[in-house]
Amino acid sequence: MLAAIIIFIGLSLLFGLLLGYAAIRFKVEGNPIAEQIDKVLPQTQCGQCGFPGCKPYAEALSKEETEVNLCTPGGNEVMILISEITGLEPKEMDAEDTEVKPKETAYIDEDVCIGCVLCIKECPVDAILGATKLMHTVIQDECTGCEKCVPVCPVDCIDMLPAKSSVENWAWPDPTQPAAPPLLKILNSQTEISPAPQKEVKK
């Protein structure tokens, strides 16, 4: 009996010391989970989650101080990814339209712009160019579409517009979708025009 108690106390102590030593010896700096979450977030820096950017939200998530369903631009997909990383329970998105809408970017109506620099201060990625009392414009390649600049504009001259479809950014349609693309027919008709060689030979 005594031996059992002593042995188990000894074992527990041994393992405890081992783990304690390991905890000190293998201490990891930084917060890998926050970084992981930050990677998943869409980096629009829109602040719709209530945090000043994507990283602060990721950090709060890693400490489990907030909800997983606050990233509106990321939508359901990101919410699920976050819940997978953090191990938190996935939650329904609060926003009504959780559908991911096509990416929009800000356009400044340059005739109306008064050069107030309010939007420049607001832009989280410095994508707006301009100076006081000079017309502003948006660097389209760098706009994340966070819509932060829209409400601050005193003359309401910022519009969110989807990217124009052009030959350069055109994508081939998904063949699994019902609308059959034109090429499908060509290739199929071709199979009829010249039947497979095996069949020819058999004839």
Binding site: D38, P42, Q43, T44, Q45, G53, C54, K55, P124, V125, D126, A127, D141, E142, T144, S165, S166, V167, W170, A171, W172, P173, D174, P175, T176, A180, P181, P182, L183, L184, K185, I186, L187, N188, S189, Q190, T191, E192, I193, S194, P195, A196, P197, Q198, E200, V201
Partner: protein, 690 residues
């Protein structure tokens, strides 16, 4: 030779039982043996060039920078005249130019449907031909001599607007290496493996000499010792004439098996040289360079005749035509005009196909123009499309793939939208030849899936890049804000210290503050006005001094400005009525006499205007007073500017500047500080006076 003959006869026998035995005869994997239907368009000779009612020239070609029209709209242009230059945004960009295919007037630059699977519109030049075909001879201004180095050749090729005419449309000049000796074999692609298309075949039959001479010119300029021309065995006449043209030159003809896709760059290279081009490398890295026969013919014309690329041989063929033909077609001719010229069996109310049946695509409008890469217009009446069946994993597609990919696996993951896995299966190596779709017993449009997957993967990568950029920029912004805050704090601190230093010499700081508030509280209107004016002047001084104390952020003020500041100071002092002894003032320089004179004059000007603002109620709160003082001072300065003479110009300049430069906040702070200091000075003066 005898062994290969034996192999051929052996394979011919085996293929009766096992048709795919033909695949043993060439070096790359897979391939298919479709019905070629080439005789449809070969029965007629090359047709005379047709000049349509309108020519449409898309400004942006398949690959390259945005271009702009350089001749005015409405002007008359001759054939071969240069029409485009780089767009305004990127003046220095090299663009492949467009030349007028025939003479006529530039009608407009308008959006027009272009031959692209999307059916989207692009800005295009609309040319109305005058049917005279008035040409500029030697439009490229060449000497007719063969270029001796790559630079010369590149220049001619760029000016002539030649792009790869096999299909990809990559600018030819850009494909050439910059230095001679990097290429050991020049290859001529005369395989033309797609069914229906015969334009390269006919070109070889009629312009064999031009093709070979063009290739030799390229080889000479690049220092290439060897030329191999690969021609499929189903073009006997072409082989014969090319062989004749090759006699006595460094060029040799290599007859290759008739199999689709023998004309693919990587396939033909493997067949001709035995080199398999690895993933993510170009033929150029292996010392190989390949062009299509039509490209060589165009190069020859550009070098010897100075003729830019304005027309190309196009096959117009298909089951919907009575007399299919080949024609040296002007670039920009609408498809429909060419199809109509071939006597269609029924009215063409179905979409035409650009390219062959394997790799071509249906155009969304039959009015699309012929571009430099259009080799064939296919007029096949629509047939009932086959129903797609589930994949039965037979593996036919894998056997047929000439790129050694796993089409079935790629299809599986594309279907499930697992694009990362599709990418891992090297979908970007897919040449979209359509062999897999052709052999598929379930009629699955496999290529369509790969194209979609490629689009999606590209979009994903672009998105990832954008996300990374956004993150980086946001982090940069945050650090910038933090840095600016620190700098501002440092500046403020330095400013405060400067004020303190300046204030302490005559009296200790506590007294100074007290006096300043006392003065601000003084109900006397005149004194308040004076205080305001002086405060404004001090604002200038403080700014200057802060610049002095913190040289790392602000430049030290120049001497001239310093003088002006002193003048302003004195003028303010003079105005308050306090009798400053110039010699006692610690900041007065040697040139004080002149400064005093200027200051007096300015003070006079100020006094006139000051009377207007004297009536303003004076607040007891020193902060408010200072704010008002700054505003009043600004007003006065504006007035003073009008009144002041040329003599005070220098003083004026400095008083003007801070108002313009400083945001309201800074001005307020500066005025506040200045008021304090001024008060201290007054106190000092009083002490002196008493």
């Amino acid at each position: 030779m005898s062994t290969s003959l034996n192999l051929h006869s052996l394979v011919a026998k085996i293929s009766l039982i096992y048709p795919m035995a033909k695949r043993w005869l060439y070096s790359f994997n897979g391939g298919i043996f479709p019905k070629y239907h080439k005789s449809i368009s070969l029965q007629n000779p090359i047709k005379e060039t047709l000049i349509p009612e309108r020519l449409i020239l898309p400004l942006k070609q398949t690959i390259g920078q945005k271009a702009e029209l350089i001749v005015p709209i409405g002007s008359y242009v001759k054939k071969n005249q240069l029409l485009t230059g780089p767009a305004k945004e990127n003046k220095n960009a090299t663009i492949v130019p467009i030349h007028a295919p025939t003479s006529g007037t530039i009608e407009s630059v308008a959006s027009h449907v272009v031959p692209h699977a999307s059916g989207l519109e692009q800005l295009s030049i609309i040319l109305k031909p005058d049917f005279k075909d008035d040409a500029i001879e030697n439009a490229l201004n060449v000497s007719g001599k063969a270029p001796q180095n790559p630079q010369q050749l590149k220049k001619i090729l760029l000016n002539s607007g030649i792009i790869g005419m096999g299909g990809a449309g990559f600018p030819t000049y850009a494909k050439l290496p910059a230095e001679a000796g990097q290429i050991n074999t020049l290859l001529i692609n005369g395989a033309e493996c797609e069914p229906f298309i015969t334009c390269d075949d006919l070109l070889m039959q009629t312009h064999a000499e031009e093709i070979i001479q063009g290739a030799i010119m390229v080889a000479n300029a690049l220092g290439i010792p060897k030329i191999i021309c690969g021609i499929e065995s189903n073009k006997p006449i072409a082989i014969q004439v090319i062989q004749k043209a090759c006699k006595g030159t460094i060029a040799t003809v290599s007859i290759v098996e008739t199999v689709y896709p023998m004309g693919g760059e990587k396939q033909l290279i493997q067949e001709l040289t035995g080199i398999e081009i690895p993933v993510k490398t170009h033929a150029l890295n292996r010392g190989l360079l390949m062009f299509n026969v039509a490209t060589y013919a165009a190069i020859f014309k550009a070098i010897t005749l100075g003729k830019p690329l304005t027309s190309r041989l196009v096959t117009v063929s298909g089951f919907g035509l009575k007399s299919a033909y080949n024609m040296d077609t002007l670039i920009g001719t609408p498809f429909e005009a060419l199809a109509e010229a071939a006597k269609p069996t029924q009215t063409i109310d179905y979409p035409l196909v650009m390219g062959g049946p394997m790799m071509g695509f249906k155009v969304q409008s039959n009015q699309v123009p012929v571009v430099k890469t259009t080799n064939c217009i296919l007029v096949n009446p629509p047939e009932p499309s086959k129903i797609q069946m589930p994949c039965i994993r037979c593996g036919e597609c894998m056997d047929a793939c000439p790129m050694n990919l796993l089409p079935q696996q790629m299809f599986w993951h594309s279907q499930a939208h697992e694009f990362d896995k599709v990418e891992k299966l090297n979908v970007f190596d897919c040449i979209e030849c359509g062999c897999c779709s052709y052999v598929c017993p379930s009629s699955i449009p496999l290529v369509q899936y790969y194209r979609h997957a490629k689009s999606e993967i590209k979009a994903l990568h672009a998105e990832q890049k954008a996300t990374d950029l956004a993150k980086q920029r946001h982090e940069f912004k945050l650090t910038r804000i933090a840095r600016e805050k620190l700098e501002r704090e440092a500046r403020l601190k330095a400013k405060k210290e400067a004020v303190k230093n300046r204030a302490t010499p005559p009296a200790d700081s506590e007294d100074t503050v007290k006096t300043s508030t006392d003065i601000a509280k003084k109900p006397s209107a005149a004194a308040a006005a004076a205080a305001r004016a002086a405060a404004a002047k001090r604002a200038v001084l403080t700014k200057g001094s802060s610049g002095e104390t913190q040289t790392q952020t602000t430049k030290p003020i120049p001497e001239a400005r310093r003088k002006a500041i002193e003048m302003a100071q004195k003028s303010a002092a003079a105005k308050t009525g306090s009798k400053i002894e110039p010699t006692k003032d610690p900041r007065v320089s040697a040139k004080r006499a002149a400064a005093l004179a200027a200051a007096k004059k300015q003070a006079q000007a100020k006094k006139d205007s000051a009377t207007e603002t004297v009536e303003q109620p004076v607040k007891t709160d020193p902060r408010e007073a200072a704010k008002q003082a700054a505003m009043a001072a600004a007003k006065k300065r504006a007035l003073a500017k009008k009144d002041s003479t040329i003599k005070t110009a220098s003083a004026e300049e400095t008083t003007e500047k801070p108002v313009k430069k400083d945001p309201r906040e800074a001005a307020k702070q500066a005025a506040m500080a200045a008021a304090k200091k001024r008060a201290a000075e007054r106190k000092a003066n009083k002490q002196e006076n008493s």
